[in-house]
């Protein structure tokens, strides 16, 4: 089965493709190849998009200064004391100097010519993207596999990695996130679609029903989120108590 057939089969939740990836001796290789291709595609488009914005330093400086002015506006709305307003006035006067600093920094280059440096940075970003997808996939697969085994699943980790790699396929949509308005919806669609593929894949690998497969996928991430919330609340309580004791 070609990589494109595997890619299409993953997107359409083709159970035959999932079963073949589970049972194939080179399932992990094909899964990693899919992650590599999707990652390079997304990375290349995103790095070209960044390159276009970096090539024109003045545009990048103006964007940073716009964010700076917006932040000061927000702070001015909440400033209540004369000292705070004085600090904000001084920060506003510093805008031109910040702009000059950014222009100097953006045009500063190393021993290699600037175009070569920019291309190497773009290449680095392109090649880093598959690794991001790989590490996220492995983390999700490990948690899912542990939970699935606890719920009575019979699959092996190698099959889980092979089939779990298919959940990266919808992230080809991330290539379109350079479009400002569509960035968030596209990311959510890709993430949700990948989650569905992971659930379906878990059911195939571990021979579980959809409910248990869904529980296996969501169990440990949910527990970690709840634990994170409790720890954050505890930390806030401790900090408030320390601040109160200090005062």
């Amino acid at each position: 089965m070609s990589i494109m057939d595997t890619f299409n089969g993953a997107l359409t939740l083709n159970q035959r493709v999932f079963a073949e990836m589970r049972d194939s001796a080179d399932g992990v290789r094909r899964g990693f190849l899919l992650i590599l291709l999707v990652g390079l595609l997304v990375g290349a488009i995103q790095s070209i998009s960044n390159l276009i914005s970096i090539v024109n330093p003045e545009q990048a400086v103006n964007e940073v200064l716009a964010v700076y002015r917006q932040t000061l506006e927000q702070q001015r709305a909440t400033a209540t004391t004369p000292e705070q307003r004085e600090v904000l006035r001084l920060l506003e006067e510093s805008e031109e100097e910040i702009g000059n600093m950014l222009r100097e920094l953006f045009t500063l280059s190393g021993p290699l010519p600037r175009p070569v440096s920019l291309i190497l940075q773009a290449l680095g970003q392109t090649v880093s993207t598959p690794f991001t997808y790989l590490s996220n996939m492995l983390l999700a697969v490990i948690f899912t596999h542990i939970a699935a085994r606890q719920l009575g699943g019979q699959g092996g980790i190698r099959s889980m990695v092979a089939v779990g790699s298919l959940s990266v396929a919808p992230h080809a949509l991330d290539a379109l996130t350079f479009i400002p308005v569509l960035s968030l919806p596209i990311s959510l669609i890709a993430w949700g679609w990948g989650l569905i593929i992971l659930v379906s894949g878990t059911a195939v690998v571990h021979r579980l029903d959809s409910g248990k497969a869904m529980l296996a996928v969501l169990l440990y991430p949910s527990l970690l989120i709840v634990l994170g919330i409790f720890l954050s609340c505890f930390l806030i309580v401790v900090l408030v108590a320390l601040a109160g004791a200090g005062a």
């Binding site: 001796a25 080179d26 992990v28 290789r29 990693f32 600090v87 001084l90 920060l91 006067e93 510093s94 100097e97 910040i98 000059n100 600093m101 100097e104 920094l105 500063l108 280059s109 190393g110 021993p111 290699l112 070569v116 440096s117 190497l120 940075q121 290449l123 680095g124 970003q125 090649v127 880093s128 690794f131 991001t132 790989l134 590490s135 996939m137 492995l138 983390l139 490990i142 542990i146 085994r149 980790i157 190698r158 990695v161």
Partner: protein, 232 residues
Amino acid sequence: MESLAYLVRLSTAGLLLDVNTFRSQRDNPYALREGFLVVLMVGILVGIAGLIGNLLSRLASPDPLATLAIVQRSLERMALVVELQRINPDFSLDPVFSQLATTFSILQWSGVIGALITPFVYLLGWLIYGIVAHLTARALGGEGTLAQTLGCTALASGANLLAIAQIIPFVTVAGTTLLGLIGCYIGLRTAHQLSAWRAFWAALLGPILLGLLLLVISCGGVAVLVAAAQGS
């Protein structure tokens, strides 16, 4: 003497979680020697790739000291800093930026040094992890020998082959540790004929102990800093 192609095939099998190769390695009388060579070869390849990538990224990046000089010069001209200096004539950014310059000068060489010691770090990590995992696996009912354990866990270092991508500057490599742990789990399960859960705990105990050790050292470091601050 094992050929380079054979060692590459072994390490690639570890990267791709080929269970059959793990089984063959378990029954291989030369598993320990071949495992050592696999880890060494991967370490050398990754080290060389890291060295080249680090040098290229330094050539493609502006001089950090020049960057710091621009930032300091601009900050000293800003209205906020000028006003602070008017209020307090002793206020100066020089100590902060001097310290930053010293730090950057040291960090510039850390990448090169890290790349050069990679093979030794990989070998040491493999040996320490392998011994801890072997003792744990045996305690959990495992049947393998130390040579089988080390021979099989050496294949898991194939996951580090992905780090060769560092030859391209500015690349961030991720996922190799998780993939290596999965490889170690498969290796331990194969070498010791353990059940899934026992192999899981045998594979995880080493990293858990390391995490606890780092936590203790961090807490100790923070305690020392707090005591020093209170003392001064």
